[in-house]
């Protein structure tokens, strides 16, 4: 039943509830999850496994861990809560902006706030991040305003933030490419003497490569593991396992839990509850310190869930049941922190209302900004193709701009 042949041709049950015979053509609208998809998806809701590092249960109970505990002040925890609420609000607003035609597409992070804020807040300013394309929460932690993400999805730029100043590389859309780039950067950190014993820890550095469960099947990610290992690169491989690579569940990518792959490459792998911001913060801090002290790389599998579609162009109802989402809602990354803050009396109603007001203001600012984003002028197309320019591109630009200017002069339209 789980053969690839069966998988690539999902066949909906017929009216009587029995499945079509193998080999029969798929129905024109194979629009319902198969039994395998349902089982795989639901299994993930209960399988963190015994190695899952957790410090805050879904119910908001603080639990101890022998290796990865963390001291957190009320102010710090309120800060993490605020980060997650604001990032979620920016994500929901951007999703709505796509629905209203203001963005061409949006890539939701809903459900992955704890994984991203935990990892992002574990990083120091000198550390470098290589994101995939869903890392809006990490971007937030690197000081990138949510408005700076919009250009990619509105189609006005390929990323407008300064990757050098923020130490947050441009979003990488080809799956897994950035992991090798991150390793190269981390090799440079090592070559520059930024890690290891006797080094002033204040200016020690490390790199974090962000990628997803689907990316772990890519050659580049596996090569990155090899390179990171043989060059002792100070790189944290931070995999957000959100259970779904568009429509494909984990068992299409791996026979074993992803964190266990690390041992095959010769470095530690840790599975953390990616919906637990405290655990993610603790584990990533530890991993970064390992890297800065010369003991990299480290693989972290943040076990989480993509609560929305892959992108606004995707329809998850074709491959997973709503029950699954309901089960994961009980593990919501924000609710457990709110419950814990309440229980500890570290935050009162005024605080929560203030964060809500702040998120309303952020959403309004995002909307306002988005609607006023100018369409770039045609010459932008030809800009910075080459660092030193190219006579070919320059000639094409000049010819095309001259062509366009004819319409301006005559007042006509193309």
């Amino acid at each position: 039943m789980s053969s690839p042949e069966y998988w690539t041709k999902p066949q909906p049950p017929d009216a009587a509830g029995s499945e079509s015979p193998p080999g029969s053509p798929p129905a024109a609208t194979a629009a319902r999850p198969t039994a395998e998809q349902v089982i795989a998806g639901l299994r993930a809701t209960s399988e963190g496994g015994p190695d899952l590092v957790q410090l805050l249960t879904p119910e908001g109970e603080r639990v101890a861990h022998p290796h990865f505990d963390i001291d957190i002040t009320p102010e710090e925890l309120r800060g993490l809560y605020r980060d997650m609420v604001l990032v979620r609000r920016a994500d929901r607003e951007s999703n709505a902006l796509q629905r209203q035609g203001q963005l061409g597409i949006w890539v939701p992070l809903l459900g992955q706030e704890a994984a991203q804020i935990g990892a992002g807040r574990a990083m120091r300013p000198r550390d470098m991040a290589f994101p995939s394309y869903r890392e809006h929460g990490v971007a937030w932690c690197r000081g990138i305003d949510p408005t700076e993400l919009l250009g990619i999805f509105r189609g006005t730029d390929h990323g407008s933030w300064d990757p050098v100043a923020t130490r947050f590389h441009p979003y990488t859309i080809v799956i897994g490419n950035q992991c090798l780039n991150a390793v190269g950067y981390a090799m440079g950190q090592r070559f520059d003497g930024r890690i290891g014993d006797g080094h002033d820890s204040a200016d020690a550095e490390a790199t974090v490569a962000f990628f997803g469960d689907g990316a772990t099947s890519q050659g580049d990610v596996n090569e990155a593991f090899v390179w990171g290992a043989v060059y002792d690169a100070p790189v944290v491989f931070f995999c957000q396992n959100n259970q779904w690579a568009i429509s494909e569940p984990m068992e299409r990518q791996s026979r074993i839990p992803l964190y266990q792959r690390a041992s095959g490459y010769g470095f530690p792998g840790i599975r953390v509850d990616g919906n637990d911001v405290l655990a993610t913060l603790a584990v990533t801090r530890w991993a970064l310190e390992e890297c800065r002290s010369g003991n990299g790389p480290v693989l972290i599998e943040a076990f989480t869930y993509r609560m929305d579609a892959h992108t606004t162009s995707d329809d998850p109802s074709r491959y997973r049941l709503a029950d699954e989402l309901e089960a994961w809602k009980l593990k919501d990354p924000i609710e457990r922190v709110k419950a814990y803050l309440h229980r500890q009396q570290w935050a009162d109603r005024d605080y929560f209302e203030e964060v809500d007001r702040e998120s309303d203001a952020l959403a309004a600012r995002l909307r306002e900004f988005c609607q006023r984003m100018p369409v770039p002028s045609a010459d932008r197309m030809f800009s910075e193709v080459y660092a030193n320019g190219s006579p070919v591109v320059a000639a094409q630009r000049d010819e095309f701009l001259t062509y366009l200017s004819q319409f301006e002069q005559t007042g006509g339209e193309r």
Binding site: F130, D157, H158, G159, D162, P163, V164, H169, P170, T172, V174, N177, C179, L180, N181, A182, V183, G184, Y185, A186, M187, G188, Q189, F191, D192, G219, D220, E223, A224, V226, W227, V230, S383, E384, V385, Y386, A387, N388, G389, S390, P391, V392, V393
Partner: protein
């Protein structure tokens, strides 16, 4: 366009500090000297590749460099081409100037994704905030009797990709200067080396003035027809011109293109306007190739000067054949002269 002037910097010390120069050297040795000079000039220049350290590379181009510069500047990498280029990109972001060796032309394809998706586009994506001073050295072309994947000419793939610059050297003097110019450039450069010519020798004068990296050059003036070529075909075309002069009294003008992206076609246009007949020679298959691009642009720029259609003499549009057939596959002196006859007979 900014052209790098490598002459303004300190020079190689490999026996040349006295200004006498190394004398006659092979293309392989010239590349080695050029790499050494670049590494001495800039500590951020690092070499990466398979077997390039202790072994000195399968063609010995990096011979002795790891011994002199250490394992952190000459990296024997894991056997993973995507890793070589992918890691080089990260190192470039960090401020290094990596020079990658792809062992053979046909092994570049695992790295194709990193080259096309990241290396070529990061300057554009970041609008100049991330420069990519990465050189990818590729021994290319056939004629060495090798098994499959060791004799290919993949330069058109890269010339077709915006964001990459592509050059090919044909002689020791160019090899020495062009590799240094490529390394000093802030742009990604695919650097094609004519592997079957690695042992060709020429006098290397270190006090000479190098031509700009992205310029083509007339190697032999003529009046009967123009031969445009690059890489390993340059020697073939020069020999064809010699033969045509002796046998037929034809004076063929030979132009070494040197830069494939961007092409520098002004010398070609000038030549065609004066002579009226052009043959483009390359080992690569002719369809959608550098030769095709030249033919298209010459007919656009020199339409009224042409006495005959542009003739392309290239490898065939087949996979590279088993090596017992490569003498037939590769355009040789006779096929080049036959192409010239086609042009003259029009």
């Amino acid at each position: 366009m900014t052209e790098v002037d490598v002459r303004s910097r300190p020079r190689a010390t490999d026996g040349s500090a006295t200004g006498q120069g190394p004398g006659k050297v092979t293309i392989g040795k010239a590349l080695n000297l050029g790499l050494r000079a670049a590494m001495e000039r800039d500590p951020k220049v690092i070499l990466m590749g398979e077997d390039i350290g202790r072994l000195g590379g399968v063609f010995r181009i990096t011979d002795g460099l790891q011994k002199d510069f250490g394992e952190q500047r000459v990296l024997d990498t894991p056997l993973a081409e995507s890793g070589i280029v992918g890691a080089a990109i990260g190192l470039a972001i960090r401020g290094y100037r990596p020079v990658c060796e792809i062992q053979f032309d046909g092994f570049i394809f695992p790295a194709f994704d990193q080259i096309v998706s990241q290396l070529a586009k990061l300057n554009y994506r970041s609008q100049g905030r991330i420069r990519m001073p990465v050189v990818i050295r590729v021994p290319f072309g056939g004629g060495i009797g090798a098994v499959e994947h060791h004799s290919e000419s993949p330069e058109s793939y890269f010339a077709h990709t915006a964001g990459l610059k592509v050059v090919a050297c044909s002689n020791p003097v160019d090899a020495y200067w062009m590799i240094q110019q490529a390394i000093e450039s802030d742009e990604p450069v695919l650097f094609f080396e004519p592997k079957r010519r690695y042992h060709e020798k020429a006098e290397l004068d270190l006090s000479a003035t190098p031509a700009p990296l992205h310029s083509s050059r007339v190697l032999r003036p003529g009046t009967t027809a123009t031969l445009a070529c690059y890489g390993p075909m340059v020697k073939t075309c020069l020999e064809a011109a010699e033969s045509a002069a002796e046998q037929e009294g034809h004076e063929l003008e030979v132009i070494d293109l040197r830069t494939l992206s961007p092409l520098d076609l002004e010398p070609v246009y000038e030549s065609v306007r004066r002579i009226g007949r052009l043959v483009v020679a390359s080992e690569a298959p002719g369809e959608s190739s550098i030769a095709s691009e030249i033919a298209a642009r010459v007919q656009q720029e020199c339409f009224y000067s042409l006495e005959a259609p542009v003739v392309r003499v290239t490898g065939f549009d087949t996979p590279y054949p088993p090596s017992k057939l490569e003498e037939e596959y590769l355009p040789d002196l006779d096929r080049v002269l036959h192409a010239v006859e086609q042009s003259l007979g029009w």
